[in-house]
Symmetry: C2
Subunit: 232 residues, 2 copies
């Protein structure tokens, strides 16, 4: 398995995956002090061929498979902030949301096994390597996960453009699951029905809805701010 | 000038630009009820050739040039929420931030003339067409714009990963300019020095910083929430 890009390879070296051979251009070897001495000086076209992407920034590496977390592990953490994604299929969006979740100190991200982007090299790149330090769990059925989360004491909030209650009106400081829907279609009815409440992001313009990664950033950081307030 | 994608063309039809010929695949003509009867049924490969992008979703259109707003127009609005971008070069990020700014009801976005992405067809696409309804101003010098904004009574807040004061500690309910730096390098020192204060987004993970479009979403919606609170 090959990952590519400077942040992804650097974070893989700091994370739990085993990193094998690293290939880097002479330019990257000069500028990236974190690259180990074992990195093999390699011309850019060969790196591009190895990782099958033009976005390699002069670095790619062989790594072991991404290790998903068991979903229960997220629920067992104290007062977890969990982000659940209902069929987000764009690797850019999944990567961006994982980066935001990791930065905010979230307990982890839950994705369904089917009809969802998974943690590919493109997602590693879009997350700036954040996936290496983040618990990501795959579940067969997202509604069942929400039921388990509720049984474990978490509140499940579904983000929906047309929800009557704004996200600022709910208490996000305890154990919560923030559920975000796919690009374009939003939450599936069964997933929305499995939430304790729907929360809206106020739209004051003419465009109908925020992008899913922007919406995720808003609610994830609102939950982080609520936690920091209640900890004071 | 050719723009492409379903949202971009639909929003151009609702916005101030003049839209000329529209080309659409037979499939898009069937599914997109908003397409005018004058749309020309066109095979997908011809659409791809016309717009030079594979992301056309079966629709492209000829439009007049994007009309930038004069920067003063943003400052003249009552209690404006303005987003200023210091050399954001990735069209995806510029588009995503414009979409968020438009959804939040911001007065507009300010970008420098040089070393910044401008409003290309790719930015229209990444913004889901939001640029058509948003004031975007280009300025020769961002520091001069911040000085003018301060003279007009606005507070300029620069977002910086390492700022001591979190964004939640400042009052974002009045006239404000939220200044965001480029991917990777952040705010230039002269731009940071031109801000009234720097505000940080708390990082609780191992990754050093949020993506610029996620950071923008957090601070833009924090400002929107502060406005809605103070209006009550």
């Amino acid at each position: 398995l090959i990952i590519y890009g400077r942040n992804p390879v650097r974070e893989a070296l700091r994370g739990p995956r085993t990193v094998g051979t690293i290939w880097a251009t002479p330019g990257a070897i000069r500028s990236e002090a974190w690259l180990p001495g074992s990195a093999r000086a390699t011309p850019a076209p060969e790196i591009e061929q190895r990782c099958a992407s033009g976005a390699h920034q002069g670095v790619c590496a062989e790594v072991t498979a991404y290790r998903y977390a068991p979903p229960e592990a997220l629920l067992e953490l104290p007062s977890p902030l969990i982000v659940a994604l209902d069929q987000v299929q764009d690797p850019q969006n999944l990567g961006s949301i994982c980066r935001t979740a990791e930065c905010a100190g979230a307990a982890g991200v839950v994705i369904p096994e089917r009809r969802s982007a998974e943690v590919t090299a493109a997602v590693c790149k879009a997350s700036a390597g954040a996936v290496e330090h983040l618990r990501i769990a795959r579940v067969r059925n997202l509604s069942d996960f929400l039921a388990a989360a509720k049984a474990a004491g978490a509140w499940c909030y579904g983000a929906a453009a047309d929800a009557g209650q704004p996200y600022t009106a709910v208490d996000l400081s305890g154990p919560v699951v923030l559920v975000l829907g796919s690009e374009g279609r939003g939450l599936r009815p069964r997933v929305a029905a499995g939430c304790d409440a729907l929360i809206g992001l106020p739209i004051r313009g003419r465009i109908e809805s925020l992008g899913v990664s922007a919406a995720a950033a808003v609610v994830i950081y609102a939950a982080q701010a609520a936690r920091e307030r209640s900890a004071r």
